[in-house]
């Protein structure tokens, strides 16, 4: 019986490919092709963040256990999805998809008992914790958005707020006062 770790390393390219594909499928068809095709990380930041992030996450999942690194990789992906047209469940659903993909890829090994169920459960538990972490990140991103919306109003008028009564209110317009306000 092969150790799950070795199996995973062997199947890593297939897992990565399927996972990336699954994430792209959450975008409209025209977009997903662009995200896949365009290789330049500056011309295609979304596609780059997803593929680069997923590679790193698999490394961490299989070999590393650096929670700071995991957070930063998750952050790269989730931060983008938090401002795109996704509901929260769609935005972080790609993490859960990984469980299904690993099971699919290892299907025959699992059936034949080649993959240890315990090891698999342990792996899935770690994926779950990634999902929990990404939920925190998602919420953090949304909170940031609300905070930024509030503070940018403050910044835009910072120096004015320090002193008051400098703004003029546009007078409510009545049809017959039209000529007055135009200064004629």
């Amino acid at each position: 019986m092969m150790k799950l770790h070795d199996l995973l390393l062997q199947k890593r390219p297939a897992i990565l490919e399927k996972w990336f594909q699954a994430a792209l499928e959450t975008y409209p068809a025209d977009t997903s092709r662009f995200l896949r095709r365009e290789k330049d990380r500056f011309a295609n930041p979304v596609g780059h963040a997803i593929s680069y992030g997923m590679e790193g996450l698999l490394d961490q999942l299989f070999d590393g256990n650096d929670s700071a690194k995991v957070s930063s990789l998750l952050d790269d992906i989730v931060r983008i999805r938090a401002v795109q047209d996704f509901s929260p469940s769609q935005a972080i659903g790609f993490i859960f998809t990984l469980k299904r993909i690993i099971r699919d890829v290892l299907q025959s090994e699992i059936r034949s008992g080649n993959a240890s169920a315990e090891e698999l459960f342990a792996l899935e538990a770690r994926i779950d914790s990634m999902a929990l972490a990404s939920f925190d990140i998602y919420m953090g991103c949304r909170e940031t958005i609300y905070e930024l919306k509030a503070t940018q109003v403050k910044n835009a008028t910072l120096k004015l707020l320090e002193r008051t009564n400098l703004l003029t209110e546009m007078p409510e317009h009545e049809p017959d006062s039209n000529d007055d306000s135009d200064g004629k």
Binding site: D30, R33, F34, K39, D40, R41, F42, D182, G183
Partner: protein
Amino acid sequence: MGALVSFFAVVVLVAIVFVGVEAANLRYLFGVIIPYAALITFIAGFIYRIVIWARSPVPFRITTTCGQQKSHPWIKNDILDNPHSTIGVIGRMLLEVLLFRSLFRNTRLELRNGPKLAYEWEKWLWLAGLVFHWSFLVILVRHLRFFTEPVPVLIQALEGLDAFFQIGLPALYLSDAVILAAVTYLFLRRVLIPEIRYISLAADYFPLFLIFGLVLSGVLMRYFVRVDVVAIKELAMGLVAFRPSVPEGINVLFYIHLFLVSVLFAYFPFSKLMHLGGVFLSPTRNLANNNRMERHTNPWNYPVKVHTYEEYEDEFRDKMKAAGLPLEKE
């Protein structure tokens, strides 16, 4: 959808001429009348479109600057990508028209995996577009041999160059092979890349099919189906001399070729193919970025309602006075 419509349109065109020539024996129609009509339509339509464009003024000098402006003498001005003089504009336009400068601009730096630097070749569209247009021009010029007697040396030289590799007999023209490849690429690109398919209209596929049919019929005549070249030249010379006659024994393939080219010419002024003329008129490219050096005038510049200083001071005079700001009227 657009592709299918266009494909069948071209098939129908071929069928029309086939039936017309073979069944109805309308050789004079397809050999003389339609080519003349197409040419007249092309010339009149082309001029009409240019006149329509030219009649609209260029109210503002809006260039797209793609390089350093002319300012201090110690800063090097990018004369081709941001010209400030007529010479520069001519240079920019030559680059644009002859070498498709803007399409070439996609230099990309790939930094995807690790720190390794690699420049990606992102020039397929540029390359295909360039060889397509150049080979079309070469083919067009080559065809002048049918309309001239004796054939000018320049055209003969061009033919020699085009058949440089001396492959097969008759020698394969490079331009024939290249244009087929380029048209195929441009078509496949439109069909296979989703965002390009999404934006493509029937009007984008139609010229591609038309040109493909045109080239194919020409290639068949030259390399595979023997046609009576002497008779064809007789017909062509007759057209040029305005003494049209239709010699016997010309293969229907020739009429198909001639009809497709007639359709292309007649269709030209009413389609996007007018970019041939339009590219020369594009204000973002054919104007000098000398906006602050020389005043550009707008023929329809009309007076607008503004808020004058007097109106402004009238509204805020008291506050200005209290703040110690100078006033026009106390």
